[in-house]
Symmetry: C2
Subunit: 123 residues, 2 copies
């Protein structure tokens, strides 16, 4: 990060404090409460920067979602209602961390697993 601006602080604070995996627009709407003059372009630029610096993760999809939870975890998406839930499973993380060094023709430094199905409400 070259310069630490108010916009960056506010966005990172928001992402660290939420579990909703917000879209760029949701970040914009929330951050706007504290910085009424912020623009969507700035939000996009800052989110891109954070992803490149590995401060947050981006979850691709129709609308990209952003995850500021810095504890290792995986995702579960309900196919019916689209809800995204965090999964914490130490054994899974450990297993995949071992695997990642064997699996590809190159160097793996990261992985991402998403489970798809139906949440309790939609079952």
């Amino acid at each position: 990060m070259k310069r630490l601006t108010n916009q960056k602080i506010t966005i990172l604070d928001f992402l660290r404090g939420t579990k909703i995996h917000p879209t760029a627009e949701e970040v914009y709407l929330n951050v706007q409460k504290n910085l009424p003059r912020i623009s969507q372009a700035t939000v996009y630029r800052i989110l891109d920067e954070f992803v490149k610096e590995n401060l947050i993760k981006s979850i691709p999809g129709k609308k990209t979602r952003f995850d500021g939870n810095d504890i290792v975890h995986q995702h579960f998406i309900c196919k019916k209602c689209g809800k995204l839930t965090d999964i914490y499973d130490g054994a899974l993380d450990k297993y995949l961390n071992k695997k990642k060094n064997l699996v590809a023709d190159g160097t793996v430094d990261d992985f991402e697993i998403t489970f798809y199905g139906r949440c309790k409400k939609c079952s």
Copy 2:
């Protein structure tokens, strides 16, 4: 599939026979060789249908990619050059298939893991 049209046959044939994980546009350009009057809208509509019917998989990203390889496999994406490679690892698939029933608060019927890193060329 309600009706089996020439467009659907041609698109599925192409997807079953390629390993390039084409975007909707690449599907369009290739299929056009055989069906010069096909439109992009049709390609998008048919791809969506195939994904819903689980005939193919969609790989989200800036441009969605489509994977018609019906053998179970996972993905490796090079962060540098963006290349997408298939990973075949029976043990990994087996492990995840067991895990998927324990991991989420709901019913999991599918999962998708992507490894990120640098391919041999970019290392």
